[in-house]
Amino acid sequence: MNEQVVRIRAIDPLLFRDGRPFGADIGSLLAQTLPLPYPSTLAGFVRTFAGNRWGVDWADEASVQRVLNIHVRGPLLMRNDKHVFRAPADAVVWEQGEKKQVGLTSLRPQPVQPGEGSNLPPGILPLLPQKYIEGKPSEGYDLWTWDTLSQWLADPTGDATSSPEKIGWLEVEERVHVAIEDDKGTSKEELLFTVQFLSFERYRWEGQAQREQWALLVRVTADEPVSLQGVGLLGGEKRLAAVEAVDNSRWLGCPPELGQALRGASRIRLFLATPAIFSGGWKPGWLDANLTGSPPFAPNLKLQLVSAAVRRHEAVSGWDYREDHRCPKAVRWLAPAGSVYFFQVLEGEPELLATEAWLQSVCDDLQDQRDGYGLALWGIW
């Protein structure tokens, strides 16, 4: 097995299409970018990159299979070489008062009082804030540093975690392109079209200076050696990204405190570091009708689902580029990154979640696992 951690850095801003068409019709003159690429996009990028280095014949089914066997986990997002994650869906952040003091509280499963109820799926408890919150949660705390998130995962109540830094999504750069009318050399207003790109750098000098460089980290596992160094095309509009092998220690291990917290824990949380595809939609397919089951990579652990914090689904389809049948793939809906699932431990020792199941996929399907969907971090509650 060849294991390699790879950092992918955009040379120029990148476009990750959201599936909407980009045509000359009025009202569709916009290529919109997703806030982050889906795991399969990165997996495809790495495989294409590796395949080209191997000199693979893309028309040959067997060669293509060789490439598809490359297992790509990620992307994890890096900001100035530090890991950042989608904010956990079981946290509420709000700013209060003139000074915008940042408050943080957790959502935890709570039995309702007699007579009360909600139309949650059977067997699922509502998640209620542990502190009273006035007003609406604040926007802009979209991403959390690993420092904060690792505290959060080891913190059963959420009271001991320091307030998160305000980190928003990557900035979007918009460019208006013009189609020139050949005869006159002037642009035709109707043919202006806008393309969005995701900017992987951010420099500000006014007030508090900011210097941010963002990158994506993936972990590549292949049967044969593969050289991952150089520049390749990533996303739409023929934009370039630099690929660079980095030390395997850059991948995240489970911190010892969290490992300790997991040992013998009776209540654990699953945090999705990348979006997951489950046969049950929001619900992992490895849970039975009673919401019990064992996650992949931890077959000896039997868990009971109690609650879940899952934001509105995302969707992925993409294109099938294989030679003779280029066509759109079937759509699948994703449980977004940042989703948190609350379990009771029925059987087994959850400590192995810190090792065997750490940043492994909890998806049901093998190819989705190989594409890097549903990478799990674990915590307690």
């Binding site: 959502l107 009360e116 929001w282 879940a308």
Partner: protein
Amino acid sequence: MTYLLSISIGPVQEFIAAARRTADLRAGSQLLQQLAGHIAAQITQQGGTLIFPASADVPGPNKVVAQIDTDQPSEMVSMLKESATEWLWQQWQRVRERLKAEGVLVNDQLAQEQIAAFLEFYAAWVPLHGDYSAARQRVELLLAGRKVLRDFAQPSSVHGNPKSPLDPSRDCVIILNRKGSWYQVPDNAQQSPSLRFKKTEFLDAISLLKRGQEARDVPSTSLLAARSVLPIAEKRVPDAVETLRAAVRDTHGLVDMGDLMFPARLQEEASAHPVLQQQREQIEEARRKILRSAGVSECPPYYAVLVADGDRMGRLIGMQNTVDKHRALSQAMAGVARQMSEAIQQRDGYCVYAGGDDVLALLPVNRALECAVQLAHLFRKAISFFVTSEDAGGTLSVGVAIAHHLESLQRTLQWAREAEKLAKRQRNALGLALHLRGGAPLEVATSWQKDPYLESWMVWISAFRQGLSHGFPYELLHLAREAEGCHLNAETLRGEARRILNRKQGREAKGGMEPFRQQMEAELEKIHNVHDLEALAHRLIIARFLSRYPEVDV
């Protein structure tokens, strides 16, 4: 037993915004309102008492609060959800019949699944005895706890099937024609006046549900842009306007007057509709006449999207400590919603949705500001009875985005929401954003409290009309940039700004500007730092843009 029931339905904003045309927008918001109305009516039929909306006839788009008497609240909620889904299904059946009549076939199974899985229906209930405030707070908490899990099932989707351009998370359900290596919407669907499909509109069932609504006479964005001149021309050259109107009639509503006011649009439509081709010269002539009558050389291509949202409504509702008080507030909301809708129409705009504390409207650029003023005013007036303390909320934040009529509608809505967000940052304010094609967007917030009639805008718009140099804002901006480097004090900044103003009034224009001189100078007095100066310059750039629009005599 008596329960307090709170229901939230969705998706709302995403659903409404998934629109390519204004008619889709209207249909989407109507569909949701009708759906909420249906749920409200069901509750009444079951003997429940509505709290919000006040009655099933004036539903809000996404929320129902009611008092119900039942022993089985859980079953009643299931019944309500089923009934809502059933209602959607019936709507779909109607649309499906219409499509069939036009020779458009759909994949029924896929459509059925999409309709069944569409509705997000979240509900929570608590026993209601005694303290209404406490019960309401609790039920909203439980509802929020419910909404933390946005449960969904995997959709049915077919490998190779095109995805819907309006919502790429769903498959197209229309049975398409294979055209070469790709697909096309059947010709009859493209030619049908009521469907007007583009050949690549591979719509899903939900988008079709919108497209199939009888949302007639919804003005296009082009028409909204053209309405900055048409009403003026209507008074001055009614025959020219009538020429266009007749041409529109001849196409059986396939184009609207907006399409005829822009040469490139006309060219496109004329090539599609021979009846227009025949009248091309008359139309061109009428268009020129209309533009001349309004004093412009080309039809201004921009229009405005207005969104508004009540500030701190949660807190205000929380203060209504009985069912009756809360219902009275709902009634007031319904009342003001009607007034707002009228106010928008009176200003040649189109009200997509007005729910009192939640408005979405399309407007001609030269009516947008006065409309915003009027809506904020109506809202304050309607709600003043319920506002018992300074910080109780009950003000309106308005966002207006000015965008090109050919810009994507989804995008423009997003810009309006961003402008609203800017207003929300200080509350009780107007956020105005100008999105010129290819230019950097400009956003300026104005507090309703400090400037309820937007005089700080009107004075500059008038001054530019009277000949204030269009270079003035740029010189101010330049001054701001220079001042940033060398820390000028406020008095020096103001002095410099006054000096530039004096120089920029234009000799021949000086007389015309005399009425505004004092006001302009007063505006400059409000500069305290570079930020103020920059904000003023931005406001002026937008004002300058607005000043090019013909003035409407009200």
